[in-house]
Symmetry: C2
Subunit: 365 residues, 2 copies
């Protein structure tokens, strides 16, 4: 999938192409079908050129040779029709709205049984058409993150353009990333590096301590597992502005997955890795080594933490020396720590000591 | 508790007063103790003047006549010392930071065992001192909501004042409410009413359809159970700008609690009702009656839904004719519906038909 934007007209055309293919299959007397890459952990491979994990060669086929398969293709055609019309009218909608909207379709067999069905279909359409959901004007439910730092942007909103400086023109809460960050144009900046932060409490600490200002950092609040909009913006900041991207999370297996989704892409959306993933992103911490080095307050690993760590040891995305060493150390010490645990050394420790030390070690400062 | 802001100096003074009282108790040879209202459902009463639910007359006493009680008071004194110093230095911190920070206190007996202990202590200090957490400079973890509508505000940030128009100066994502919304001053507005919206998907629908612009509505995204900052801002919009406040949620018992927390205050923070609750807030829907009237797509009530509805029938805050009728209807039909289910009537149904009809019935339009 190209990481460029697809224009509305182009997205519409590719949708119609898919429907046309079904039509041609019918016309030639073939049973209509749609072929997709198999979407499982066993079918993701590392793309050396792009430096991200993408789907491999294994495929699955949806064919109308069963009632179930035929129903799936019928739903696809109805959805294509809706999306094409939405693009025509320059409207947008959410995945949940699509699910409910199907109830208004005259053909009952085309209606979705639950939202996971319509969500999955939209992902299938993304993969087959090579157009991403955002370019179909499907908005995610989840909001993007908040941004604070020396960056001036222009956002194209549905009520005109807005020019916003992400320090001078925003409140303490920062600039709210829109659902589709490709409506943002970067105008000018004094940013030296991007600092993605997992928790709101830590994000607020950095902003209160003026870390963005002192170090020319662009602080991006991930808010747990980052929304697509946040990952997309992070990638664009790296690619277009040539900025180093760093990720600062809690020190537990779930947080390493947060780093992984910024850096490597997720299994569920491996078809979007080139669009969403920033393989050059670097992990700041909390590393298991930090727990030892800074003697941080910890909690014991739960059984599910241990299982998650062991599964990460097997995960192709965590096969580096760094991660193997850190995960094994963590299993060894049996402890995890939150990023706010740095407050046990005082409220300024994170901005005066921990981050400058780590960023220097990593060659960012 | 006064709904006015408490100055830093005043907040500090009231904290020191609490510590001084322990000192006086010691000096007079009494066992130090602290008396608090009992914080349970059975001890909340309706305050007719303020129109909110507050704690009743039943009290509990923390006394140093046991090791456990003495330890609690010791922790209180250490926390008071920290908060007084924080106010002195014009710093702030989160509840989680306070918990971790206690690890740096020399006296081990004063350290908190877990965060629920420090959270609860801060609430106790709020109640006894009559000063709210925000005025101790304790920031919540949870971010406030996003706001979109014809309102110009001035926010006092820790890097200077910012003037922001909540339509013209923000992106599609809107204005991000800061953790302490009392740093906001309302400058001018064309708002006719406040519309609090539970889900991000519906908030985005209203903004895309330009509902805020067409109806002079201030759209406030609640994002599930609203943060204190969101409830505080909503109350201020009502009290200071004399604006009607309406709440638009899913049609299930958990969403009625979201309405309840905006309108009536929560049991956990009944001491803050006068500061956070907007008793005049009106519920738009989704009402069980809407499920019937608009023939919305539904899900069946689960056992926990039924239990929650039955518990609401017993809750003093839901004893009105409206709520009794609606909850009984819902138990009768055995169904619930989400606000985005309105999309089954088309993407514009909510802004062209549903909201205008409901707001007219309610006398807002």
């Amino acid at each position: 999938m190209s990481s460029d934007n697809t224009s509305d007209g182009e997205a519409r055309e590719r949708l119609i192409d898919m429907a046309a293919e079904f039509y041609d299959q019918f016309a030639e007397g073939d049973v209509p079908s749609m072929t997709l890459p198999t979407r499982s952990k066993s079918n993701i491979v590392f793309d050396d050129d792009a430096g991200v994990w993408v789907y491999g060669d294994r495929t699955s086929t949806r064919s109308a040779n069963s009632v179930n398969g035929a129903r799936k293709l019928l739903k696809a055609v109805y959805t294509i029709d809706f999306l094409a019309q939405q693009l025509d009218e320059d409207r947008s909608s959410t995945l949940r709205e699509l699910y409910y909207l199907s109830e208004s379709w005259g053909e009952e067999e085309a209606q979705f049984n639950d939202q996971s069905e319509s969500d999955k279909l939209v992902e299938d359409l993304e993969i087959v058409s090579g157009v991403k959901r955002e370019d179909f004007h499907m908005r995610p439910e989840e909001s993007g993150a908040k941004v604070m730092g020396p960056l001036r942007i222009r956002e194209q909103t549905n009520r005109g353009d807005r020019e916003i400086h992400c320090q001078d023109d925003v409140g303490q809460g920062g600039y709210q990333i829109p659902n589709n960050p490709d409506t943002i144009e970067f105008l000018e900046h004094d940013v030296d590096f991007v600092l993605c932060v997992e928790t709101g409490g830590m994000r607020d600490r950095l902003v209160e301590n003026g870390f963005d200002d002192e170090y020319n950092a662009l602080v991006v609040h991930l808010g747990g597992q980052p929304a697509r909009a946040t990952r997309r913006l992070t990638k664009r900041l790296h690619d277009e502005l040539d900025l180093p991207v760093t990720v600062f999370t809690d020190g537990d297996p779930w947080s390493y997955r947060i780093f992984g989704s910024v850096s490597y892409g997720s299994i569920k959306s491996a078809h979007l890795s080139e669009y969403l993933a920033t393989p050059e992103a670097q992990f700041i911490g909390i590393r298991p080594a930090d727990i030892v080095e800074y003697d941080l307050p910890t909690d014991p690993l739960s059984d599910s933490d241990v299982n998650a760590l062991e599964s990460e040891l097997e995960d192709p995305r965590f096969q580096s020396e760094f991660w193997t060493e850190q995960i094994e150390l963590q299993l060894d010490i049996g402890k995890k720590a939150e990023q706010q645990a740095l407050a046990s050394r005082g409220l300024d420790f994170v901005t005066d000591t921990y981050l400058p030390e780590r960023l220097t070690e990593m060659g960012i400062l």
